[in-house]
Subunit: 502 residues, 2 copies
């Protein structure tokens, strides 16, 4: 039987087959994005020797490409929430996130995240992240000023506003424009560099090293063209991002993302972390789920319009979060989505960039141009308009602030995936982990010595319908810290308790 | 480091750790349902020595619990299709199944299945399965007579009728009542017994046995309270069913099925086959997908009614297959589903058993009792009725044979999951396999010596929205045969070619 020459994430290496350890450390971390940086800082602060391996030639990961909003609150409010006049309760935050996650939510993670969220804000500030005591009040996908606090989910929207008292929880760094990601990674990178953490760039993690009992002892990393066996006495933390850049994995798990949507991520989001974890028994869960968005605002005035499907029916309250709308739009039978607005509310949406496929002095003209049933479209617009004029939306409960009659003339934007409108996506599936970051098998047993955080793990955000901006970087930095701290304090060769009820 | 005492599917055993082989054979098959039986027959007919391990004390599996319809056609038609006047083309069958599978479809499997479907029919007949040259013309979930041919999917329904020429492909055994499953398993069991196949009942497969190269050499089976090491020189075929009986796995992968829907399956559908495959590197795919049905007919007269959601909107052509309707119903925002019918079409649906939540001499009375918006419900019924009277359904394209005006009085059945209506479900996720049945890693490499078929593999049926009765037993028996034949002819220690583009 010939030995396979190539080392791939799916084939763990047996420690017994190694000649030697090239590098020895307590904690080995794969990936120097937001999760990896935070894991490294906490592991070092817990007294562990830490080595951080990054495939790119600089830190950053997908956190650097993001706006780096963090979704935080509860415990009476962060310093910014309080300064802006909001008192946020942990229960409201918990109830909101549980409702947003629906039956996919991980209660123990949500609970921990909500309880320690204000502490995480303070920690980020202690690392040098600066947040102004100010609110950004526009309906926006991100704050383009240096203001901090904004609504980034569907908190004020039906049905969530009936489940939990709304509160803005998106925290934007004090920086003009969409420049939060580079600033946050610069801040965290400086903190890593201040500590005696070994950082190896251009270092590709290839596969995990295990012993016959299935414990993870280290990791094989390719550096300078050579495979190096890295011994991680306390454990390995996989913070290597998601798999939105791996077309084969998208075909397997998220076929909808293979063509059409723009991937949001860095070239390292190849799923290697997921594969390495799976190869030693880690369960990949929620693999079909993804964030997908139709960034239809700004301008926020388009929120006065209505989305309709191929049947000219409305299907969503248009004031909710953009990925919730995208997710619902893509589920519609007939595969069509149009945004219909009164001309008085129309302005070109620069991010979505959807083509105008119809205009009309009246509904019938519009319907003919768009190819919708005129009688049905007339009823949909009239029914909506009549109630909206009274501040009511009996079907979808759009908030009164976005309700007004829709007088002609009209314009229709084609928001159908594949017809020109921009959709953008990243993956939400990953390794099943305890709140500590310990990786679990399908049978809910801990794999000793293995942790995951960020999009390599399946974290707080579980679906596009329940997403809020700030959940990914919030989750990655928070659970990166938890994993770093837990792994950093793990006794060498300690076997964690066997199983846990999720 | 203490050895783990318990042998579980997630921990493969290294061949080097064995003292001896207790049983030696060419092909070891786990599970004596439809897939396992067919795999065993073909492996034996290919000249291999075969051992079949079944955890229950008799053959059967979930095939025995089913109606055992098989979905077959193409190549001009099966003997029954031809006798009933249908000429079925392979391309129509292929196009239908590809459209039904949508972006989840596995083209190579669908292609093979369609091309060899008539041959499979003839093989089943050669095994002793009897099919009458007769058609069952009622709209039905299953034929309760001994007639054979019926429509079991959405072939005649929009949008599929525009994609492929409709043809009935469900083949029902010549037996009265819902007794196809026991008859098919009796027939196949007799064929297994005629061959020199070692059959072990009360034998629980525990975990696979591998060598350091990752090749599967055999399987550990518990018989009479003892663990037996089974050497399978040509390979192991996992035909151990799905995971609908494993609550923890449902929580992880199909949370919607944890409470509410009735599981369809046998007690052995614990996911053990999936876990064993995953533990040696097999990729579990499509794990969130499941068959789920709302068996709302018979009586077929209810098809004259309309389904509406919480917004009193229609959402589906009501003439399509029952699991397509259930799937769509469960996706509706607001979480409510009602079936509204004219009293003249009403009769109690014995399988669905949904409660009547409203009746009315007019729409307003009905709307008030049900809790729907009266103006919206009036428009929905009037718009539908007005067009239906002309044989038209401009929104959802229900077939003319099911279109007629809906005069008052009305009745409304509450079909909301959890409100009394019966939903039933089983899982469609499983090991990724080649059409041959060879199990693939996430990196699309074949795991030498490992095969899967039936619901342990991810086969032809991939979603409730695209399901048709007869696809599970059709797929299980067909791909069971393919796997048996391929594994039965595998050279001992042969390493299959490395990878394949899906």
């Amino acid at each position: 039987m010939p030995q396979q020459a190539k080392t791939t994430p799916s084939r763990p290496r047996q420690a017994a087959d190694l000649d030697n350890w090239d590098i020895e450390t307590d904690v080995a971390i794969v990936g120097f994005g937001g999760a990896g940086a935070c894991a490294a800082i906490e592991a070092a602060d817990a007294g562990a020797q830490v080595a951080l391996f990054e495939v790119a030639s600089a830190s950053g990961g997908s956190t650097e490409l993001s706006s780096a909003e963090v979704y935080l609150g509860g415990s009476g409010g962060t310093r910014v929430q309080k300064a802006c006049g909001y008192e946020d309760s942990t229960e409201d935050m918990f109830n909101y996130l549980m409702a947003a996650g629906g039956d996919l939510a991980h209660e123990a993670k949500v609970r921990l995240y909500c309880e320690e969220s204000v502490g995480h804000f303070d920690w980020l500030v202690s690392m040098g992240a600066q947040y102004k005591n100010s609110e950004y009040e526009e309906r926006a996908i991100m704050a383009l000023t240096d203001d901090c606090l904004l609504y980034t989910g569907s908190e004020k929207c039906w049905p969530f506003r009936e489940i939990a008292k709304p509160c803005p929880r998106g925290h934007n760094l004090e920086v003009e424009g969409d420049n939060g990601g580079p600033l946050l990674m610069k801040t965290l990178t400086a903190q890593v560099e201040k500590r005696s953490i070994q950082v190896e760039y251009n270092a590709r993690a290839l596969t995990l090293i295990i012993n016959p009992e299935g414990e993870v002892l280290g990791i094989v990393v390719r550096m300078d063209g050579k495979e190096k066996n890295v011994r991680a006495r306390r454990g390995v933390i996989l913070c290597a991002g998601g798999f939105v850049m791996n077309t084969e994995m998208l075909k397997q798990y998220c076929p909808r993302l293979v063509e059409g949507p723009m991937p949001i991520g860095n070239p390292g989001d190849t799923g290697a972390g997921l594969l390495m974890g799976q190869a030693v028994g880690g369960a990949l869960i929620n693999m079909d789920q993804h964030f997908i968005t139709l960034p239809y605002y700004p301008p926020s005035s388009l929120t006065y319009g209505i989305f309709v499907n191929a049947q000219a029916q409305r299907f969503i309250n248009e004031d909710c979060y953009h990925s919730r709308i995208a997710s619902s739009a893509l589920d519609q039978l007939g595969g069509k989505t149009y945004l219909i607005v009164s001309a008085e509310d129309y302005a070109h949406p620069p991010f979505m960039n959807a083509p105008i496929v119809g205009t009309g002095e009246n509904v019938e003209e519009l319907a003919e141009e768009v190819g919708l049933h005129p009688g049905m479209l007339r009823h949909t617009i009239e029914f909506y308009s009549e109630h909206a004029a009274r501040g009511e939306d009996p079907l979808f409960h759009k908030s009164p602030e976005w309700l007004k009659a829709m007088p002609p003339p009209y314009a229709a934007l084609d928001c159908t995936l594949g017809e020109g409108a921009i959709y953008a996506a990243f993956t939400l599936g990953g390794l099943d982990t305890r709140p500590t970051g310990e990786v679990l098998t399908t049978e809910k047993e801990v794999i000793p010595g293995l942790y995951a955080a960020g999009r390599t793990a399946c974290g707080i955000p579980r679906s596009a319908a329940g997403y809020a901006s700030g959940l990914s970087v919030g989750d990655a930095t928070f659970f990166g810290r938890v994993a770093g701290s837990h792994c950093g304090q793990r006794s060498c060769g300690q076997r964690s308790p066997g199983s846990e009820t999720r």
